[in-house]
Assembly symmetry: C3
Homo-oligomer: 305 residues x 3
């Protein structure tokens, strides 16, 4: 796939080769092979819904490589209040920059924007739908530790029903036929259509409702938060959330080589005592956002290939 001039909207448009290309380019960027490859380019970060972490990560990626950034974040934005359509906003701003990174609370907005804009659009989250660069950095972090993604045994833990991050990463790993474990309470199981699709792509899938029922070793545990709002009964919530909390004891149970991942921010689904262990990968994941987003920006801007 040639990324130059292309928008990045959904992980579902990616084939295995595209993912490989992004992983390899990220790796070369992280190794310092390219310098200042974004000089003279301007990124617009349009965050109709605030997200400090993702916004700062894209802006930092740009600035380290000599690029400029303009943009707004949530509350500040006002032309929309004056009744302007999203289409007009995108059409206007796309004449002010070389690439747009956009977050919006409504599903499908990023694709709509990409059809209007005269520059590439990178989706940084459209509601519960897609956030492809998060999946890229998850895959890249895995690729740093495992030579062959097809062999990596990944368990997903927690809220698998609503988790955008989990859906995208599980789908991406299914392109590699990686064996997957879905560990969730009944109420929050991976949607059936997605499990089906993942199996059809060739991944072996195991579903259990408890970490203790894993019958094989896994290499990676990808943790997500179980949200209070999903439960009517607070006692029920407390009981269940407790079973899906990762502590040192859980890490011990999973074996000394287990890697713990999390898209962040976390609240208490991973105990702070885990941070100091070599098993904890989540901050490395977050920091990998910089080279991965630099690679993506370099590719869509035609400065890397």
């Amino acid at each position: 796939m040639d990324f130059a001039g292309k928008s990045i909207i959904s992980i579902r448009e990616m084939d295995k080769n595209s993912l490989l290309k992004i992983i390899e380019t990220s790796n070369r960027v992280k190794n310092g092979e390219y310098k200042n490859f974004l000089t003279g380019k301007v990124l617009a970060t349009l965050f109709f819904e605030p997200s400090t972490r993702t916004r700062l990560s894209f802006e930092s990626a740009m600035r380290y490589m000599g690029g400029g950034v303009i943009g707004f974040s949530g509350t500040e934005y006002t032309s929309i209040k004056k009744g302007e359509t999203l289409q007009d906003t995108i059409m206007t701003v796309s004449g002010y920059c070389n690439v747009i990174v956009m977050r919006h609370p409504v599903e499908g907005t990023a694709r709509l924007a990409s059809e209007i804009a005269i520059v590439p659009v990178i989706n940084a989250g459209d509601g519960a739908n897609q956030h492809p660069t998060q999946t890229f950095l998850d895959l890249f972090t895995l690729s740093e530790l495992f030579a062959n993604l097809s062999d990596v045994r990944v368990g997903f833990l927690g809220d698998l029903k609503y988790g955008r991050t989990v859906h995208s990463l599980a789908y991406a790993l299914s392109l590699y036929q990686s064996p997957l474990w879905f560990i969730a309470p009944d109420l929050l199981r991976m949607p059936e259509y997605l499990t089906q699709e993942i199996k059809e792509n060739g991944s072996r899938v195991h579903e259990v409702d408890d970490l203790e029922r894993l019958e094989e070793h896994i290499d990676v545990l990808y943790v997500t938060r179980i949200q209070k709002e999903r439960f009517g009964d607070m006692q029920e919530y407390e009981r269940i959330a407790g079973c899906y909390r990762v502590t040192k004891k859980v890490v011990d149970m999973l074996g000394k080589d287990i890697k713990i991942m999390h898209p962040l921010p976390r609240v208490d689904e991973i105990a702070q005592e885990v941070d100091e262990l070599e098993n904890a990968l989540y901050f490395r994941q977050a920091h990998n956002g910089i080279p991965v987003r630099q690679a993506v920006l370099g590719l869509v801007l035609g400065r890397l290939d």
Copy 2:
């Protein structure tokens, strides 16, 4: 006029030569004749009232040419809340930058700031008063299509009573003696003092209350929004606004060469179906904000002449 070190507060300080200078410089900037001419310079964008479009446009202009930007936008600003005067804010910030771009809800504030600041101030809107760089980009867009501004027949449509943009552009065109048409409902006619002044400058002026009563061809229709708030009676508003809405049918009526301009944001005063026509100039206008503001910044910073 030598712009170096000068503030840009009002279109009324400009003579025809100054406008010509800005148009010509914008043209050379747009053609790519100068590179990175703002390197090492810092712009402060002080938006006491938010305006995403104008702010992003200035910031982008700066960054493409290698300059840096600092600033704040509306809600964020707090020293004023601590009781600091505008004078102290301006005096302080003008020591942090090479040029200030400022928007403020109160008329006259930009001029006040320019008298205090130790660097040039560019007015990006002071209440209903002035927003000179909008007029520059309107003129520049006209100059790209018409070799001689004196011959261009421009009709202004909609709210001519309160429209800051319309007042400034009509005044500027009167310096060229361009023939002008003012098309507005009785309630929203161009202020008499301004029509008088425009005539004295040598423009032929025609006033009608309906697009259908234009008896000559015009080259350009400059559309502005009729705001609900001006009307006590909502039925009256609906009836009138409907007559001033530009559709494909209206474009047909005006002839195939008619150009449609608008300062943006628009709501529904121009139908979306018009966007795809070659007659639509409004997004080109918006995008011309970049080279025009680069030219203005380059001139006042003494980097272009």
Copy 3:
């Protein structure tokens, strides 16, 4: 002291040599001895509490020297709202940048952050506690006028009980054994423990409750605001605040060489009529924030030594 890689949290960690180093480096930076020494570096400004002046000053310092800036200001920040700990925020963002400048309403937060971050942290205010770069720029401004800080007679006026700025500067001057005058109403006297410590460091200390009772000449009057909120009785407040207001008459009384300093923003504790006098140093102080912060950034980033 070698500043490279070090956090700057409190003036109390500084010895006289460290202060000297910062003053000398600021002086060389202001004289233009170094160009673009922050190129390729990224600063994150994390303002959990907004402060336009300090934030703009750091951002401008960075940009003039070719560095990039990312960050947020107050209201915008939301991961914390999602329940993330400060530790996680700092750990994540410190992987996006080379240095953090941070303001937070809670005392001790900057030190906590410096223990977690993988890059240096500069404290830009933690509640009523510390704001060391303000003290650096105060000292630097004094050093531009007085060859030997040990001889400078400095009077502090106003609210000496709660003023963070005053506490830090008085402490720093005591390292030089400068003679100090504390001029405050009874209710707002310098805290006893601090007066004691300053004396132990070797400064001669004079306490009076009225400017008219100064019995010796002073060289500098450092003014701070007396806040309404400290008083239950508004008449009492008006009476007292009036006695601590600096006017031309007060300047005359203090002698033609007196220098008037203030950390800004001011409200009415210095009359505007004083601004035009050569005695007024406060805007120069503010503008010195740029070279001083450039020096500090250059030192902790290892680009100056």
